[in-house]
Amino acid sequence: MTEPRLLQNFSGGRAIVVTDRASSLEILLTTLNRLGVGTDPADIFERAAAIDATTLQPDRDIIFIDGDIDDVAVLPLSPIGRLAPAPIIGLLGVSAPSRLKALMRAGATSFLRKPIHGAAVYPALFVGVNEYRRHRHLEALLEGHDRRRRGRRDVVKAIIRTMAEYGVDDDEAYDLLRRRSMKTRQTMEDLCKDLIRSADGQEHGECVPRRKLAD
């Protein structure tokens, strides 16, 4: 899986801001506009719970959550990487460990210190969005590895069956299976799962066509 490229131009993005101090957002919103990130008054909320998580788009939306409000951690997080549905940048007033922890638990991948300094916005976006994308990439990798780990049992079974059926050693059996998976554009795990299932079906008298490896 190719590592994601760094995002460096944020034009076309949409900012969603969660704060109960909307009057202090002028520098943030002005700077975001200069960077091509849209800031609609309708996207400024007093509570994170007001955000409709089902409409969030991770490649477009960037959420700024004020760490000084109470309910920062209400958006659903992914099970492995604990990522929110879109990148979150924490706005720090009080930098005490409890607030930092709350924002990190909410899924923040970058921070902006209040009062916000215009020059700090681009670096915060750059780090926050690209860290989010990197985490998402790693999460997908982990998911893939986990799926493959679960499929190893079928791979081992398929190797043993192939060895018995074709009278070959384990390396050759693996090679036969590997070539078949590339030919049929299946992962090894999916191919072996199918083979084991079809073989089991025959043993149980079901009419499942048996696949040939050496065709």
Partner: protein, 384 residues
Amino acid sequence: MPLQNLQVGYLFSSTGSYELVARSMLNGALLAAEEVNASGLGIRLEPSVVNPGGDLSQYSALATTLLKRNIRHVVGCYTSSSRKEVIPLFEKHDALLWYPSHYEGFESSTNVIYTGAAPNQHVLPLVEYLLAHHGHRAFCVGSNYIWAWENNRILRESITARGGSVLAERYFAVGETDFHQAIEAIIEARPSFVFLTLIGTSAYQFFRDFRAACRARGIDQAKEMPVASCSLSEPELEAIGGEAVDGHLSSSVYFCSIQSPANLRFLKAYELRFPEGPTASADAEASYNAVWLLARSAAAAGTDDPRVIKAEIVHQRLDAPQGKVWIDEQTFHAYLTPRIGRSNRNAKFDLISAARAPVQPDPYLVHNSARFEAAAVPSLRLVS
């Protein structure tokens, strides 16, 4: 009561490794102040000139001195490192820095008015020109600081996206003048062009040594490996001098060779006032424009309050030597007219292309760059 006297600081390194350009900037600013004072605009500028001598630590010390004297407007800085050194001071004192030089972008301080070119007004047009007319193999040589690093990044991304390549990037300390090894490497690599981001005395020495090394090998350097720069200006051509002055490409919003009544007036006044030189440059014009924009805004606002002047400046339209110039209300950078020139034996530039109209500044390249960084060319091999 209308504002009558306006104190303004001029912060230019009229000595040091890039003194030539900085002196022309100071001249442009001084000329503008004298013209404002004689113009009947109803405002009198009182410049206080300080010289950091190219020493980074002196920039903040001298800027502090000016700001503590309650001067709220300072025109100055040439290098980005010096600008970044003083910006926190202007933010602390809520004063305005009028930065009159081209730069690499990715900045928009609320306490700076940028009258020089943003990267979409000089770096990108040059990259486009080079790729269209000279080829896709670049060799980058620059001074080791943000100006060179960022320009080379922009070039690398544009050229990689079109299947070209950057053969090498070499960086040298500001003021370095020994380029023997780099020149040997360039001649060995035979790039389509050399992208030069050296500044000051380093650049002048490179031009001379590169031309001499090529000539010794019978290579027509200007034709076969032209040097292209986004900062080369007329006073620097004079400093290069002799046999190495011609055939270099420069991307700028101003050249002395622009034929317009406003520019001829500017050049005549400049040469009359500063017969000893240095010759006018793009940065001298940007300094001249900055002072005029400040004076007009202050006169219209009736105050030197930076916030009021920022609100007023976006209404000003200047008939500058380069053409119409005005300030973008979103970024506080200037609308300017990109041009490309080729240096000739008279230490001037022949104009070879120009935009039809002033171009909106895009300091973050929001409208002029890819969303993602350039992808590395994948190294694939045939496996079966």
